[in-house]
């Protein structure tokens, strides 16, 4: 069984700094595999371990994305395909999905594509569904349990207050939520071996056909949010502090 897992290299949002004008300092910012994608990789590797086959790590990003790819390889990826797009050429979500779908078509004979519920930096959560549309494949979203017999994929999905079991024929695309599993920590040996595994580089331009969807969607600005909170701490015994807090809430008019 050939499984493609979609992995995004994301800026570490907790470490990201703003410059004096309030824009994020992305140049040289620390990156890592998007946190939720670790659950995607874990699920793909688990399915491979159970059913045999390969896990192909597929990433779209700049040269810095090699780090995320290696992290995914250390978790058990068999090989990797890196769609190289410099920041200036970074497509919108639809363009990203189109290029990933094109890359999957090139890989050929893919049984299952696994994505996560969203990226930790933008959290748009749409690329998996869009890839499925471009490939005209069934898509099961937000799976918390994934099983396959090589013919069909069956997932449990908790959504809208209901748990559903959904089933689709392979090939298919599935997105997993982080409840699905606990990602493994690779051993030092696995990290070292992963560093030597081949990564195939594919320039993004080579994937863009005449049907590339140019939607004119652009990020106009990114600015830091200012959180102005009162940050008042009430002290005293629990009873005293609680009374002061109750008083403050009454004054705020939120009771």
């Amino acid at each position: 069984m050939n499984i493609v897992v979609l992995v995004k290299s994301a800026v570490d949002e907790a470490e990201l700094k703003a410059d004096q004008s309030g824009h994020p300092v992305l140049k040289g910012a620390a990156t890592k595999m998007s946190a939720f994608d670790m659950n995607g990789v874990e699920e793909a590797v688990k399915l491979k371990e159970k059913n045999g086959g390969t896990v192909i790590v597929l990433t779209l990003g700049g040269p810095e994305a090699k780090k995320a790819i290696k992290e995914a390889m250390a978790m058990g990826g068999t090989k990797a395909v890196h769609v190289l797009a410099e920041a200036a050429d970074a497509p919108d979500s639809l363009g990203t999905a189109y290029c990933l779908a094109q890359a999957i078509k090139r890989i050929g004979a893919v049984d299952l594509v696994v994505s996560s519920e969203g990226a930790s930096d933008t959290y748009q959560g749409e690329v998996g569904a869009m890839v499925a549309e471009f490939l005209d494949l069934p898509f099961i979203a937000y799976a918390k349990k994934v099983e396959t017999d090589g013919v069909k994929v069956r997932c449990e999905q908790g959504l809208r207050g209901t748990v559903r079991v959904l089933e689709a024929r392979l090939p298919a695309v599935v997105s997993v939520v982080s409840e699905a599993n606990v990602p493994r920590y690779p051993t030092l040996l696995q990290v070292m071996v992963a560093g030597k595994k081949a990564i195939e580089d594919v320039p993004i331009a080579s994937l863009k056909g005449p049907d590339y969807p140019d939607t004119g969607t652009v990020v106009v600005d990114v600015s830091v949010q200012s959180a102005s909170r009162k940050r008042v701490i009430f002290d005293g015994t629990p009873e005293e502090a609680a009374r002061k807090l109750a008083g403050a809430l009454k004054q705020e008019g939120v009771l």
Binding site: S93, E126, E133, L137, V177, G216, L245
Partner: protein, 309 residues
């Protein structure tokens, strides 16, 4: 003239908000605002818009495939200026599918929609809610409207027009359905929320948070570990980046450390209260009022103080 601005909500609780967003965008474009309903018009729908009921032979709302296909059939026949979908997980998938099928821009989930030089512009949280991205797309395009970003119009719907569409058999089949926890929209529109985190030692102790919630008339939510790792509460109660974005008047975080992922979902709250035994917990940085102390002592004392008025 620009095609109609369509709004759609899978959750009846958010239909009024997304309809209001649709109306605002329609006004900016000089276009008609239309509220879409799939399968049936939900009772108590708050929208001043014209309502178009989209009906297929198979239930459209059962599966994102069919919902997207139903909307697509309508849009193909009539065109559209923009499609606004209320923020739910289901809605996010429908938005992605429609955008991909039509090859139009998808702005993602955000607020403060506006029209600028013929483009639709949205403001959305990025980098764990620490930054705002302003994103623009050519029309027509698709956007997901964040819960709480618009006030639901207090109005009764215009006359409903029913449109029958033909959609194929979905590629995904539902083989089993069981009732889960409370619907996700409930907490999204709550005016007061008491939220529990890892500071609680045992599931049974959540009664302390529940007592406070009852005294306040608040809904009970939680941080991710309680729903995902421990399973103490349903995943619909989970507040944060990957769960519900909430915007209550009052948010009380109990035993929640305040990781970025959680804070992303609560920062639109009017007043944030934190109760935590660790004075250095990041939650205090984003709180209006805080008490550093043992939740097992502080919370019952607060419940008592509130009951005494």
């Amino acid at each position: 003239m620009t095609g109609a601005v369509l709004s759609y909500s899978e959750s009846p609780d958010l239909a009024g908000e997304v309809a209001a967003a649709g109306q605002e965008v329609a006004k900016m474009l000089g276009a008609e605002a239309v509220s879409l309903e799939l399968d049936e018009v939900s009772p108590g729908l708050l929208t001043a818009n014209k309502v178009v009921l989209v009906k297929g032979e198979l239930p459209l709302e059962a599966i994102a495939d069919s919902a997207a296909a139903g909307i697509l059939e309508l849009v193909k026949a009539r065109g559209f200026g923009a499609l606004l979908i209320a923020e739910t997980r289901f809605g996010t998938i429908v938005a992605a599918k429609v955008a991909a099928r039509l090859r139009v821009g998808s702005l993602g989930k955000g607020k403060k929609l506006r029209v600028d030089e013929g483009r639709l512009v949205i403001e959305r949280d990025v980098y764990g809610g620490r930054f705002t991205a302003t994103v623009a797309s050519r029309l027509p395009c698709v956007a997901v409207v964040q819960a709480g970003a618009y006030e639901a119009a207090d109005a009764s719907p215009g006359p409903a027009e029913s449109v029958a569409v033909t959609v194929g058999e979905p590629k995904v089949a539902i083989t089993q359905t069981k009732q889960g926890q409370q619907g996700e929209a409930g907490i999204k529109s709550a005016l007061k929320i008491v939220s529990a985190g890892r500071g609680f030692a045992r599931k049974e102790d959540l009664v302390i948070a529940q007592d406070l919630a009852s005294a306040l008339g608040a809904s009970l939510g939680c941080s991710r570990p309680l729903s995902s790792d421990l399973g103490w509460m349903g995943e619909e109660a989970h507040i944060g980046l990957t769960g519900a974005y909430v915007h209550p008047q009052l948010y009380v975080a109990i035993g929640i450390s305040g990781q970025l992922q959680h804070v992303a979902g609560i920062k639109d709250s009017k007043v944030i209260v934190a109760i935590n035994k660790d004075a250095h917990a990041p939650i205090f940085q984003v709180a209006d009022y805080g008490i550093v102390g043992d939740l097992y002592e502080v919370v019952p004392a607060l419940t008592k103080a509130l009951k005494q008025g």
